[in-house]
């Protein structure tokens, strides 16, 4: 046994295209997503996360003798919708049994698709234009959940296990990428992009922390410039995008060390150990995959008509890549900032505000910085646009606009009314001017440094006067108007 233990991964240092020693990283990703249906794939039990154990079960999902599966139409519709969003061909498909003996499947087989998947040959384009091929996106059922008791929760030392079958039979789509990814950053971006597509299409809530989106990574390395595919290991138990980066980083270094010092790694399933920052060997060799797939005799083929597929295409919402492109064209703002807004689903707010004449860059910046909250459901495109217009017109200072946005996030409503409730009224120029005059009279030294000093002095003193005015007006003065007044008076 030459199980090399590489130093644990400590952070998500990106390994960029060429690894140490002239190696290249090759990654394929398998992502399981739970479909957002009311019921399970083959029975009417609720598809619900967080229920009391074994309360969403019936003879079908418990695999009791005599029960028969009947396919859920919404699950099929969502799977095909995802397929089209990924640019896949939607095919005639057949369900199959994947036979294995394990406590998470009471039937002792998982109903899935094998040689005739629903979706094949698609792609995902990442934010920077890199394209990852999708081999297939097939329908299958989820498995039950087991808890290992005793032995510190570790499976090999457990005294016994407890099984909850609420999740058994929940509809999944497994999206299998081609081994196109060459960097950790692209692996992470792929998962983020897929998540964005799942949310935009309403196929899944894609919550990694609740397990409704689960990522396995197939990792191998090869000499840079070669096109061979070397022995890969499948890394499971990755619970976040950050862990994905760490797991690939560790595994790539482990492979390089093996190839350099010991020879080919074993092709196997490995588990990511989040705390230890390393992967560990999963099953023993004699348990190698031998699933004896065969067609599921209790379910008939799925055969979508071309009309059905056309209807899916016609109802497809704008996907993240197209939304980024649209906002970029409209705003000319920073690409990363635009990416953040699309990810948060705030690009619609930006587009409406920009369409109404607001400055694109300003809108994007304001949203990125000041709407970085989990719940912004009270903010509508109309109210946000009205707020931006009040700010641009000088009715609100930047500080006041920020405060009103805070109120909008909290309780929603009309920004003009919210501003009035806070007592924010556009300070009239005369009032502001008399304040400035008073300050100049009170601080003659500072004023002479402002009006006659060098650029550094001038800048410093502009800060001083602006600060004093903001203090006197409790942030209500418009910074731009103050700057103008100061410039006029020193001219």
């Amino acid at each position: 046994m030459t199980d090399f233990v590489a130093p644990a991964s400590t952070d998500d240092t990106p390994i960029e295209p060429t690894l140490p020693g002239g190696w290249e990283l090759v990654v394929g990703l398998e992502v399981h997503v739970e479909l957002d249906t009311a019921t399970k794939l083959f029975c009417g039990c609720a598809n619900q996360f967080g229920s009391e154990p074994n309360t969403n079960v019936c003879p079908t999902c418990l695999g009791l003798p005599g029960s028969l599966p009947v396919m859920n139409e919404t699950a099929v519709a969502l799977a095909m919708r995802l397929g089209r969003a990924l640019g896949c061909d939607v095919n005639r498909s057949v369900m199959a049994r994947k036979n294995y003996f394990y406590l998470d499947m009471p039937k002792d087989f998982q109903t899935t698709q094998y040689d005739q998947p629903t979706n094949s040959d698609g792609k995902i384009e990442l934010g920077d234009g890199f394209v990852v091929g999708i081999e297939r996106a097939h329908i299958e059922e989820d498995t039950g959940k087991s808890t290992h008791v005793g032995g510190g929760g570790r499976i090999n030392d457990a005294e016994y296990s407890l099984v909850d079958y609420n999740r058994a039979g929940v509809p999944l789509v497994e999206i299998v990428s081609r081994p196109d990814v060459r960097t950790i950053e692209h692996a992470k971006a792929y998962v983020e992009e897929l998540r964005g597509i799942l949310l935009a299409t309403g196929v899944s809530d894609a919550r990694m922390e609740e397990g409704s989106m689960r990522v396995d990574a197939n990792v191998s390395v090869r000499p840079h410039g070669s096109d061979e595919l070397r022995t890969r290991c499948e890394i499971k138990n990755i619970n976040s995008v950050r862990s994905l980066g760490r797991a690939i980083d560790y595994e790539a270094r482990r492979h390089i060390d093996l190839w350099t010092n010991a020879g080919a790694p074993d092709q196997e399933t490995r588990h990511w150990d989040e705390e230890g920052g390393r992967t560990t060997s999963g099953r023993s060799k004699e348990d190698a995959d031998d699933y004896r797939y065969f067609q599921e005799p209790d379910l008939v083929p799925l055969e979508p008509s071309s009309e059905e597929i056309a209807a899916i295409d016609a109802s497809m919402p704008m996907l993240p890549a197209a939304r980024r492109a649209a906002l970029l064209a409209a705003s000319d703002a920073d690409a990363d900032a635009i990416g953040i807004l699309v990810e948060r689903g705030q690009d619609e707010l930006a587009m409406v505000a920009i369409d109404s004449g607001a400055d694109g860059d300003k809108v994007v910046t304001r949203l990125v910085n000041d709407l970085a909250v989990d719940d912004w459901s009270n903010v509508t495109a109309e109210s946000f646009t009205a707020l931006i217009q009040m700010e641009s017109a000088g009715d609100l200072s930047a500080t006041q606009a920020k405060q009103v946005l805070g109120d909008l996030i909290e309780k929603g409503g009309d920004p003009a009314a919210l501003a009035a409730a806070r007592g924010f009224e556009a300070m009239d120029t005369g009032e502001l001017e008399s304040l400035v005059d008073q300050l100049i009279a009170d601080h003659p030294d500072e004023w002479s440094r402002f009006s006659r000093g060098d650029d550094g002095d001038r800048k410093k003193m502009q800060g001083f006067f602006t600060g004093q005015i903001m203090k006197a007006t409790q942030g209500q003065a418009d910074g731009k108007a103050v700057a103008q007044l100061l410039a006029q008076k020193s001219a």
Binding site: P59, I155, A158
Partner: protein
């Protein structure tokens, strides 16, 4: 003893299904499975070049149900059928190895 399947194959398949077979049973099933494969080979010998492959005997596709919740079964009743339960869950012997 059939040439189409070996005792080793039968032992392997039995192990995958977690079936414990005696030597006599392995002999018995090796013979019986061999006969089944022999029958399949007879069919394989036929010329079926111009026959559409069928996955199912009935010409049915798209048998679907509405996505509507149906009441689940009573948990206590279900758990009572299992050899052991604890905290609303099925209690099973320790399992060696990770999930497939």
């Amino acid at each position: 003893m059939s040439e189409r399947i070996s005792r080793g194959d039968v032992e392997h398949v039995a192990r995958l299904a977690r079936l414990e077979l005696t030597d006599d049973e392995i002999d018995l099933f090796t013979g019986q499975l061999g006969d089944i494969l022999e029958h399949a080979a007879d069919i394989e010998a036929l010329d079926v070049g111009d026959i559409e492959p069928t996955s199912h005997p009935l010409p049915l596709v798209n048998v679907l149900r509405r996505d509507e919740i149906v009441a689940s079964v009573d948990r206590d009743e279900v758990l009572a059928q299992a050899p052991a339960n604890e905290a609303g869950q099925f209690r099973v012997p320790p399992v060696l190895g990770e999930e497939p």
